[in-house]
């Protein structure tokens, strides 16, 4: 750890260890990409460094695009660690259960606008499930976890975002899924335009018909 402060472990993921810490009064989250001993040392260092840098760059471009996400406070390339602003709130996955219909409508609309702005900037999140969307106490939404994000001109990658979101709603929030997605696409359409939205929706249908991602991604979300 570059920051010599007490930290509290949040999650051990497939490639990174996520912790919560406080530094000079700032509440931060650290994302440390751990070394993989099976990779050759120079390859391992290079991969972790590149991914750390890549994630930081994606976050910067999203903030420029006006997509709310945690700010990068510090990047420590020597340990492949990102220190990010801690967003205090709960995963949308958990929050959705206790919300009235009007609140869900507004969240879906605003999320659609956010994702629309992201896609207009040709950024695909790569793992857009309700676990990677945070709702704070004032009702603001934030996207997190850009480990799989990419800048791309491939419409399919953008469509995968919407597909994954839909799937994650289907598995956990079945009754509101249709209502949520209808409003999501409304918000999305307001930003990207109806024509683009229809193109993406067509791609989503195609991905769905191929039947990949269904079972496996559901369990991952």
């Amino acid at each position: 750890m570059a920051l010599n402060v007490r930290s509290e472990l949040i999650r051990i993921g497939a490639e990174a260890v996520i912790s919560k810490l406080e530094w000079n009064g700032f509440k931060l989250v650290s994302k440390h990409r751990v070394p993989k001993p099976y990779r050759r040392a120079e390859l391992d260092r290079w991969v972790r460094d590149r991914r750390t840098l890549h994630e930081a760059k994606i976050i910067m471009s999203l903030r420029r695009l006006g997509v709310p996400c945690p700010a990068v406070v510090l990047m420590d390339r020597s340990t492949a660690t990102l220190y990010l602003q801690l967003i205090e709130g709960s995963e949308l996955k958990k929050a959705l259960d206790d919300l009235p219909r009007e609140a869900i409508e507004s969240i879906a609309l605003r999320l659609g606008e956010m994702v629309g702005r992201m896609h207009l900037g040709r950024v695909a999140h790569g793992d857009l499930t309700t676990s990677n969307i945070i709702l704070d106490g004032s009702g603001n939404l934030y996207l997190i976890d850009f480990g799989l994000s990419m800048v791309t001109d491939d419409l399919e990658e953008l469509a995968v975002d919407i597909h994954l979101l839909d799937r994650s709603l289907e598995s956990v929030h079945h009754p509101i899924r249709g209502f949520f997605m209808k409003n999501f696409l409304k918000g999305y359409s307001m930003v990207v335009g109806r024509e683009f939205m229809l193109k993406i929706a067509e791609k989503v249908k195609e991905i769905r018909s191929r039947g990949r991602y269904v079972e496996e991604r559901r369990k991952r979300s």
């Binding site: 099976y38 990779r39 991969v47 799989l148 039947g211 079972e215 496996e216 991952r220």
Partner: protein
């Protein structure tokens, strides 16, 4: 004379190998004959390979039956690889299997080639419920059994890992695998190449292009080292994710690339971190072979998956997750 044991003859003809095997319901492999088409230069030409297969077929079947010591009329089923693979090659095996099944009045069994690689791996190593890395010249996927069939957790988004290494080896003038891996052993310096892992999926075409562009610019040994280390690390990393996600305790390596010692070493090191056991299919069953088709045919025969001749059209794009594996539910 035969008792209650059932015998199935299996024909493999998805690509350059024409293989005939005989397996029994007690899990014995009685015969495993392989004839491999070797192109004079460059890669495999589907029509030429198919010609090779049809010329060698009757000899191979006779060899397999005599090796097994089984008479044609004692067989209980005829299995063939129905896909995925190259259309012209697949059709050779399918045509012969149909003719045999009709003539001998035996059940016809259409086997998914990928499922067969996994089942021969389970049979020969004794592992029970593994996460499977299936890597070969034409296939790269990470799969495992879940709810009735082998589900795909990750796969290549473009070319196969084996294909990437083979094409590189051929264009570099040293020949296909295992030449690039042998050359890599003399490598010293590692050069970064595109490392494309997306969740549990991998992509190798950009890596191949980049490696080919560096040909002649750095030592070939170093380039081979950089390429093989990158390919194997990508595979190991995605496999690690699948292992964490499925919470299975076993890893099984199948397909031609399972012979790679370096890949195995890397995967074993990863498995140690997770307390998982690694199994690799023995070399004689690693490449395409008829024994794996025969054995999977036995499983399908016992599960009642007989195929009607009119439904036995080959399926060049038959995905592993489209094939049902009912014997797994039954605990076989």
């Amino acid at each position: 004379m035969k008792g209650s044991e059932k015998y199935v003859l299996g024909i493999e003809s998805t690509a350059h190998t024409f293989g005939v095997g005989v397996a029994s319901s007690s899990g014995r492999i009685l015969a495993n004959i392989r004839h491999v088409y070797k192109p004079k230069e460059g890669g495999i030409h589907p029509r030429e390979a198919a010609q090779h297969h049809s010329q060698i077929a009757s000899k191979a079947i006779k060899e397999a039956l005599s090796q097994a010591g089984v008479k044609p009329q004692d067989l209980d089923g005829i299995a063939f690889s129905i896909g995925p693979g190259m259309g012209p090659c697949l059709r050779v095996g399918a045509t012969i299997a149909r003719a045999l099944a009709l003539k001998l009045r035996k059940p016809l069994l259409g086997v998914n080639h990928g499922v067969a690689h996994i089942e021969i791996g389970r049979l020969s190593t004794g592992c029970v419920d593994p996460v499977v890395l299936y890597v070969a010249g034409g296939n790269t996927l990470i799969t495992g059994y879940m709810d009735g069939r082998y589900r795909i957790f990750g796969e290549t988004l473009d070319i196969a890992a084996g294909n990437c290494l083979d094409v590189f080896g051929i264009k570099a003038g040293i020949g296909p695998m295992p030449a690039p891996e042998e050359c890599a052993r003399r490598g010293e310096r590692f050069h970064p190449l595109p490392y494309r892992v997306k969740g549990m999926d991998v992509s190798f075409s950009g890596l191949l292009t980049a490696a080919l562009k560096m040909l002649g610019k750095i030592r070939l040994e170093d380039l081979c080292l950089s390429l093989t280390e990158t390919v194997y690390s990508m595979l190991t990393e995605t496999l690690e994710r699948a292992l964490a996600y499925t919470e299975k305790g076993e890893i099984l390596l199948v397909g031609g690339l399972a012979r790679s010692m370096r890949l195995r070493e890397m995967i074993e090191e990863m498995a140690r971190l997770h307390g998982a056991k690694v199994y690799a299919v023995p070399p004689e069953y690693a490449g395409d072979n008829g024994a794996m088709i025969a054995w999977t045919g036995v499983l399908q025969l016992l599960a009642g998956q007989e195929l009607r001749v009119e439904e036995s059209r080959v399926r060049p794009r038959f995905r592993i997750d489209e094939a049902e594996a009912p014997w797994r539910e039954a605990g076989v």
